[in-house]
Symmetry: C2
Subunit: 242 residues, 2 copies
Amino acid sequence: MTYCVGLKLNAGLVLLSDTRTNAGLDNIATYRKMFFFEEPGERVIAIMTAGSLSVTQTTLARLQEAIDDEMADETTSIMLAPTMLQVATMIGDTLSRTRREISDQCRELKQSQASASMIVAGQRADGDMRMFLIYPEGNFIEATDDTPFLQIGEHKYGKPILDRVVTPATSLPDAQKAVLLSMDSTLRSNLSVGMPLDLAIIEKDACAVGATRRILDGDADFMQMSSAWSAALRDSFVKVSI
Amino acid sequence: MTYCVGLKLNAGLVLLSDTRTNAGLDNIATYRKMFFFEEPGERVIAIMTAGSLSVTQTTLARLQEAIDDEMADETTSIMLAPTMLQVATMIGDTLSRTRREISDQCRELKQSQASASMIVAGQRADGDMRMFLIYPEGNFIEATDDTPFLQIGEHKYGKPILDRVVTPATSLPDAQKAVLLSMDSTLRSNLSVGMPLDLAIIEKDACAVGATRRILDGDADFMQMSSAWSAALRDSFVKVSI
């Protein structure tokens, strides 16, 4: 399993992903699930991935190959596509094609289907910040002011806190806190979501990856926040009456 | 969908269920999901249900029919079974048989399978309080001091608060608050869980249903608790730092 969450706020984009992958409970590994494609000042594209690792790795490798191709043009390279919408479409098409091929291979061996989904967030110079959730079929939905966050993977445990505190006006420091608390609830409840975490902030109109941070297991700041939040919840629980 | 939660505490049993059933999003109805079989002072058995209504209603009707049968004995009637473990076994067997029959009917029409699960909680005079989660196959697990709560239906949204505040030593008033806050998070996030709610408390060694309460949509106490909890969460969010 996986948990990735992205916020699209007035002030910028805030992204958080875990790194745990598993093929059965007895085969657990750490893989990065957050990737950047960047030409600072011109465009930044962040991709977070959930699902079958063979599908997401192959999709990313194909996107990179298309960028590096000498013949790359605005219809084949996400670094040349004229809009973020076209970037999302190209990623969706690549994901869908890759997923279908790998599922066909799995079917031959009568194994379960391979699937994957992605969050794509970014901005081009002269364009707006945009964030999309791309489904395994290649279609997608976009974050809006009404729903400024998108989640993939194990999304349920971490949703109540986002519902309650995140609006487009949320500041970047508060947003960082919100996604970390959302992840904290998820880590506590689903063993297949695990540390380390990757956190990234992309400020509005920077068109470049801003602060990034890898939060390791046992990180003192994260542990302090996690226990302060537990204590605050227990305090709140005592205060509320029915 | 459904959300039912039961706590087995040193002081007693606390049970909460919603009442929404749906056959598709365009066919929503209200049905009670909490049932009592009681001979005050001798035994009390509470059953909460999730899943296909045809399976749960038929299972309950069969349990009642077996109780009312003139030939009823300790192997057929849950009101005569000598232990709560045997009560759980009998309910599991009845659920499993009913589910299988209805699934077979569905299969003939090529419809999706019918399934259901139940929480069974209660006590007999001279026996301990016990609480079981019965799976569609009829097998079951039991609440223990390590895990004093059981959930059926949409369990994820409401689990973090239970994980954080419920222990066997939790008082009955606090337990009531915990299950209502757990339900509140679930109601906010899943439209197929809905008011009114049924709440029941069975005090240790009473062997009888104690306080019961139906909480209707718009209940002033519940709304006050819900908004106080939201406010407390937002306050806590401001106080926690990272």
